[in-house]
């Protein structure tokens, strides 16, 4: 019998370690591209200031990169250490993109990042530029393969369930790679990383401009970042819209939860809920304020298509649950007898097997065979309810992410405008805004992942394997041991990372006639330099 506490703790651990990992990944993805752009300008123009820019931002890249690598190891381990049933069930198809990621991307990125940092004096300019390009290529290719793997969890294509091995078997590499969900998600996610990096570079440059230090250096970095950020933000919003449409086609429970749609919509009037307080328990809104006529075109890109609501989706799930229970019982029989009759019985309902596995949680003693005729409606009710992700979390995570995305558009637009007209120093408010916005794109990315993965619930493999069936059969003690360990180590890590990041950002680039160089004696000494940089302390 599955211990639900262990499942919940395993989920908590995976969620926290994944969100933590993604504090660092977006900056790696985006900064590697910005470094490549800066170094390209250096190699073409030969102006040393662009070399200073590449080296300085490269140093901050390194501080961040180390944590991305370290916390990424955790992710690769956790499928095996905490999700053994999941790994067994989909390893044949899900493990493959991870292995290819190592072969094609991570080796490239990691081997050349050493040369990028250490190779300045040993490589010719074009050779070093090529190395920087390969680092950017490697990190973004790495994201591609990871998101292909994630795409399989969201929209499992390219594999089918095999009753002889009790797992999904890989059937089409093409379908896996070109999964609509994976592709939409890859571009949205990696370009969100570009936004994070652009805000990072722009914000720190704004800090120097406010303190009137490293002015030439900071003004150039600011401009590169503002333009890069503006283009990237536009792309992220457009691609996010495409991803939303792919969810509407492929993951209806997710889109219904994102928009808080308890009932199927009535196009075209149906309002888009701007603010609401959805209550999962009663399946209704405590209150909601909506914009009429916006929802249907926003989600479906048409004025006529209805979007299925939660209550209707639950109704649709009910026959699947009944069939799924039959499929799992037949599969159990087949595992024991290997009889063709049992196999035929399984084949009849195999597409609904996942719903049968989901129903196990609500069966007496988690045993489908123990369900009596009298129990069945209750089990089906509970299971149908369980097919819907938490609406409150989904609704608000999405809105926070989206609001932040549009806010970035405004910040980058103003920043680019004032930067191009050389009026930044007359408008310190935009510099302050840029500086204070540094953490926000990372925050938006985190909410994006909550939308994606909370919206996938109750499945680890959408429609096929329920989350509660996926975890390893550990004792609670094991989980407490690892959770407490992660909490301690990760807290120390982020403290060390932020400390170094702030310190090196304060010190600033090594050359370019700094107006005042902070004394490198201690962390507080850096803060005493002319500018009252209180937000940094």
């Amino acid at each position: 019998m599955t211990n639900l506490t262990v499942v919940e703790l395993s989920r908590l651990q995976f969620a926290l370690t994944a969100l933590y990992h993604f504090l660092f990944v977006p900056l790696t993805l985006g900064l590697s591209v910005i470094l490549a752009a800066m170094e390209t300008v250096y190699v073409i123009t030969g102006k040393p200031i662009y070399k200073d820019m590449t080296q300085f931002w490269g140093k901050l890249f390194g501080i961040n990169f180390a944590l991305g690598v370290a916390t990424g190891l955790t992710m690769e381990f956790e499928f095996g250490t905490n999700w053994s049933m999941y790994s067994h069930f989909v390893g044949d198809v899900f493990g493959t993109p991870l292995a290819i990621e190592g072969l094609m991307a991570f080796f490239l990125e990691s081997t050349f990042v050493g040369l990028m940092i250490f190779g300045w004096d040993r490589l010719s300019r074009p050779a070093h530029l090529a190395v920087t390009y390969l680092v950017a290529l490697g990190s973004n290719l790495s994201a591609l393969w990871i998101l292909i793997a994630n795409g399989f969890m969201q929209y499992p294509v390219g594999a089918s369930f095999d009753p002889d091995t009790m797992r999904m078997q890989f059937t089409s590499l093409y379908d896996l790679i070109f999964s609509e969900d994976a592709q939409a998600k890859f571009v949205h996610t990696s370009i969100a990383g570009f936004v994070c990096a652009a805000m990072f570079v722009m914000g720190i440059s704004a800090y120097y401009l406010l303190g009137k230090r490293h002015r030439a250096f900071a003004a150039r970095s600011f401009r590169v970042a503002a333009l890069f950020g503006l283009i990237s933000t536009l792309a992220v919003i457009t691609l996010g819209d495409a991803l939303g449409r792919s969810d509407y086609l492929l993951q209806q429970t997710k889109i219904a939860a994102i928009e808080g749609l308890w009932h199927t919509t009535r196009p075209p009037y149906e309002p888009w809920k701007l603010v609401a307080l959805p209550d999962d328990a009663t399946q209704s809104d405590v209150f909601s304020i909506g914009l009429p006529y916006v929802l249907t075109p926003l989600v479906t890109h048409s004025f006529t298509e209805p979007i299925p609501g939660i209550i209707e989706l639950e109704q649709e799930a009910r026959p699947k649950i009944v069939n799924g229970i039959q499929a799992v019982l037949a599969l159990q029989d087949y595992a024991r007898t290997r009889s063709p009759e049992a196999l035929a019985a399984f084949r009849k309902n195999e597409d609904d097997m996942g719903y049968g596995l989901l129903a196990e949680r609500y069966a007496p003693g988690q045993d489908l065979a123990a369900i009596t005729r009298a129990d069945l409606p209750g089990v089906v009710n509970h299971t149908a309810r369980a097919t819907i992700p938490n609406v409150f979390v989904e609704f608000w995570s999405f809105r926070i992410m989206m609001a932040l995305g549009f806010a970035f558009l405004a910040v980058f637009a103003f920043a680019a405008y004032f930067s191009l007209r050389n009026r930044l120093e007359r408008h310190p408010w935009i510099l302050w805004l840029a500086m204070l916005s540094i953490p926000l794109p990372v925050l938006a990315s985190e909410f994006g992942w909550i939308v994606a993965e909370n919206g996938r619930q109750p499945w680890t493999v959408f429609g096929w394997l329920p989350t509660f069936q996926s975890a390893s059969t550990h004792s609670v003690g094991y989980l407490l041991f690892s959770l407490i360990g992660f909490a301690l180590i990760y807290t120390c890590f982020i403290a060390a990372e932020l400390y170094l990041m702030f310190r090196y950002a304060r010190i600033g680039p090594a050359t370019g006639a700094p107006a005042e160089t902070p004394h490198a004696a201690g962390p507080m000494a850096a803060g005493t330099s002319g500018y009252a940089g209180k937000p940094w302390q």
Partner: protein
């Protein structure tokens, strides 16, 4: 031979190659980390040792990542079961392993004694613990692990994790792994650092190689006496990959020597291991550091492939449900998956070897202690 069987055997071989790559390349960096406090008496000396592997540790570590990914894809049930049954030790390995990227990147970024001393200890822990666990895993698997599967393929652990760290044979294997990594790391420092660091590293490497040879000999005798696993009924190597319907398996003393008795030419593999562990230190003493490095690699090849050949086709035998032991035949991926993985491996492995070699060539030569102090890029 049927295509699927060939694919399974090829991937078992590639698993050995990956684990060897891990032992050599990651082992080298770990060895440097372990001996850092002993080869470097001053801060500058320690930095010189770190910068000898500084440009390469990140690329080397990918062997570890790729090892995990390849086991996940090529032997999914092995990945799922071994990582979960060894949970506590795997998490300890992970905790120590994730200290390393930060230790490299952060240690020399602050000029404070306690900060750097803390990271130096982190290097010791994050070198010794993973290498010990890596070796001990081989020790545990050779003796069999207590687990079984239910009908749906979910594993259950049938013994306490304490056994995995406290059993004497696993400890021996763990120590041997640490000794080999000290050898490999020491050799690298002999090539890449100046005196007196290189001389200290050489002493540690020589000791590491010879201790590894001694432990390998003791381990060999131990394995020949311990209860191995053997099929008692014919097994179809082309079987569907599931541990649920395996033929019966028995535990027999000396069973792990069966493959060697059947194919005496295989004795060349442990012999090659010994050759590496004994000729390596001799070569180092005679001043042939590069040769010594390659002999160290030979020692790792010999050790890991000795275990693989002894156990083949077993990967992780079960003591509590021997018929559900994981083997090359029943724990692998599908033929379609193994084929595509092989295609990618054939395309990208030569490229990886080429650019790794190029990276080592670009950074060749000894790390100069006095130049580190002036180079703001160095660790």
């Amino acid at each position: 031979m049927e295509l699927y069987v060939a694919l399974k055997v090829i991937w078992a071989f590639l698993l050995g190659v990956l684990l060897t790559g891990l032992a050599v390349m990651v082992g080298m960096d770990m060895g440097v980390g372990i001996m850092l406090r002993f080869v470097g008496r001053s801060d500058l000396e320690r930095r010189a040792a770190l910068n000898a592997i500084g440009p390469h540790w990140d690329g080397n570590q990918v062997w570890f990542v790729l090892g995990g990914g390849a086991i996940f894809a090529a032997f999914p049930t092995l990945y799922a079961t071994s990582f979960s049954t060894f949970y506590v030790v795997m998490i300890l390995l992970l905790f120590s392993m994730i200290l390393r990227p930060l230790a490299f990147e952060y240690r020399s970024k602050l000029d404070a004694g306690r900060w750097r001393a803390t990271w130096d200890w982190a290097f010791l822990v994050s070198g010794a613990v993973p290498m010990f666990v890596f070796g001990a895993a081989f020790g545990n698997v050779l003796q069999g692990v207590g687990f079984h599967f239910t009908w749906d393929g979910q594993y259950f652990q049938d013994e306490s994790f304490i056994w995995y760290v406290l059993n004497p044979f696993a400890i021996l294997c763990g120590l041997m792994s640490v000794a080999l990594s000290l050898y490999q790391g020491g050799t690298m420092l002999v090539m890449r650092t100046e005196q007196p660091i290189a001389a200290r590293a050489r002493r540690i490497a020589v000791a590491g190689g010879l201790i590894a040879a001694l432990l390998f000999a003791i381990g060999g005798i131990w394995v020949s006496l311990m209860k191995g696993f053997v099929f008692t009924a014919p097994v179809d190597p082309a079987m569907a990959a599931t541990p649920l319907n395996g033929p019966s398996v028995a535990r027999q003393a000396g069973a792990w020597l069966g493959n060697f008795h059947a194919h005496p030419a295989l004795w060349a593999i442990p012999a090659a291991g010994f050759l590496g562990m004994i000729a390596g230190p001799l070569a180092l003493r005679a001043g042939f550091a590069v040769l010594g490095w390659w002999l160290g690699a030979l020692a790792s090849v010999g050790t890991i492939f000795t275990v693989g050949v002894a156990m083949f086709p077993f990967l992780m035998p079960s003591t509590t449900a021997p018929a559900q032991s994981l083997t090359v035949w029943n724990a692998s991926g599908s033929a379609y998956n193994l084929t595509w993985m092989l295609v990618f491996a054939l395309i990208f492995t030569p490229a990886i070897i080429a650019y790794t070699g190029w990276a080592f060539r670009v950074m060749r030569g000894r790390v100069k202690t006095d130049s580190i102090a002036h180079d703001e890029h160095s660790y």
